[in-house]
Amino acid sequence: MSEKQILNAEDIRRALVRIAHEIAERNEGIQELVLVGIRRRGVPLAERICATLADFEGQTVPVGHLDITLYRDDLSLRGPAPLVQKTSLPQNITGRTVVLVDDVLYTGRTVRAALDALADLGRPACIQLAVLIDRGHRELPVRADFVGKNVPTSRSERVDVRLHEVDGIPDEVVIGRPDQDEDQK
């Protein structure tokens, strides 16, 4: 697998600042907003967007963490059961505008699971989706409201988002391509 960097730490920072501004613009302010990060890498992204919003709106938006493991549609296909982590939402989401935050939008199945999970936790007035990377190849009718970068990929490639909060290394987004001989196997 060979890797190519497509976003560095500074690119990621700028993309998140733009997304934060778009969120505030689209919602005409941030009063009714709740940011919900999808575990794991959506959580630090949601927290960074929250910090940026606080900078220019002078107000802190609540941030929740959503674990969608129990809502996956592929549990039995995945071998050992993935670890279930905690969901914690700061308050009742009924009537609020929820912005779901994730690192990569791909098949749309994670978002489908997140929507199901949110429906069990309340009835938001509106749900929007913010992602750092949209790599295409949707298998469900899902689209993002806020996108950091659209990245055309093939299905055989991997997109890895690395964030210092989770991975302990400088932020970056890389595309991994299978090597030639690996492809022929």
């Binding site: 129990l70 279930v84 069990d120």
Partner: protein, 321 residues
């Protein structure tokens, strides 16, 4: 290259298991993973809608050949919270009374489409036997005097929630140790988590030291409860089955109570952080007084609540291919 699903979740580091017969084949790592998962499950139970769709299409059969309130209801609630289909089966009123053998009953239940069999039986070893004749998973919900792994896991979970650790805690288990499946499974769990365990009972209900040391070399034995309570972080009282007195193992229940019951006076001698636990059902006035059972140090009701979360965690781990 297989189709890559985008996920940022680490897979479970411990291999998938098929059956839960006792805790002897659990590693410390796997126990910690179950407790961590149980913590996430507990959050679900605190929601207004206490249900997630995870085990839709999975059939769980509760097969109880011995009476039970909390364990059976707890398993049923756990399975329902994960959206499994649950069927309860008791020996009474079934074809067992027409003479159907246990194995035939299990085969029948398998043919009816069961995926997970939760089994309680008065004979030790029955879950192991059944696991050889059942293609799905078997969970031992208590077999004779042998093991009760889900009770031990919920006890570990309750201790962990209170102290944030289990390692190095002083845990005293007092009561009919010799006949207790709860004590035995807890011994596996507590020693794997590196707690210091003391077993306390009258000599007739304690058994010889070599017997215990064969499996748990570091466990201590005592017949003096007051001594044991000094420095104890957790005291777990076991139910005294009244039949033991008829069997000649005890002079009288009153004498047993005088030396081994958890009373307010005894509790006053412990430190304020000492937890009082009991797996239930209690004989109030025999091994524990009602005041102690409802005192602020008692986590007996929390044990019951935590039982649902721990059983959800186990059902989740066993489900799937």
């Amino acid at each position: 290259m297989p189709h890559q699903t985008h996920t940022s979740h680490p897979p479970s580091p411990t291999a998938r298991r098929r059956h839960v017969c006792d805790l002897d084949d659990f590693t410390r790592e796997e126990i910690e993973e179950v407790l961590e998962t149980a913590d996430s499950m507990k959050e679900i139970l605190s929601r207004e809608i206490k249900q997630v769709p995870t085990l839709r299409g999975t059939t769980v059969i509760n097969m109880f050949f011995e009476e039970s309130t909390r364990t059976r209801i707890s398993f049923e609630l756990a399975a329902r919270a994960l959206s499994a289909t649950v069927v309860n089966f008791t020996g009474r009123g079934s074809s067992v009374e027409k003479g159907e053998s246990l194995i035939d009953t299990v085969r029948t239940i398998q043919a009816l489409g069961a995926n997970i069999l939760v089994l309680r039986h008065s004979q030790a070893g029955v879950p192991y036997l059944v696991s050889h004749h059942f293609k799905g998973s078997v969970i031992n919900a208590g077999d004779g005097c042998h093991a009760h792994p889900t009770q031990a896991l919920l006890d570990l979970f309750t201790i962990q929630q209170k102290f944030d650790r289990i390692e190095r805690l002083n845990v005293v288990i007092v009561g009919d140790i010799l006949h207790s499946r709860v004590a035995r499974s807890n011994l596996w769990g507590l020693t794997k988590m590196e707690a210091n365990v003391t077993l306390c009972a009258p000599p007739t209900l304690l058994g010889p030291l070599p017997f215990w040391h064969a499996s748990w070399p570091n466990v201590r034995l005592s017949s003096n409860l007051d001594e044991c309570l000094d420095g104890a972080d957790v005291v777990m009282a076991l139910r005294l089955q009244k039949e033991r007195q008829q069997a000649g193992l005890l002079p009288s229940l009153r004498e047993y109570s005088r030396f081994f019951a958890l009373t307010s006076e005894r509790l006053a001698a412990t430190s304020a952080h000492t937890l009082v636990m009991h797996p239930g059902p209690m004989n109030e006035g025999v091994e524990i007084t009602p005041e102690v059972a409802t005192s602020p140090q008692s986590v007996i009701e929390e044990q019951v609540t935590n039982g649902v979360a721990v059983r959800m965690a186990l059902l989740y781990r066993l489900a799937g291919e």
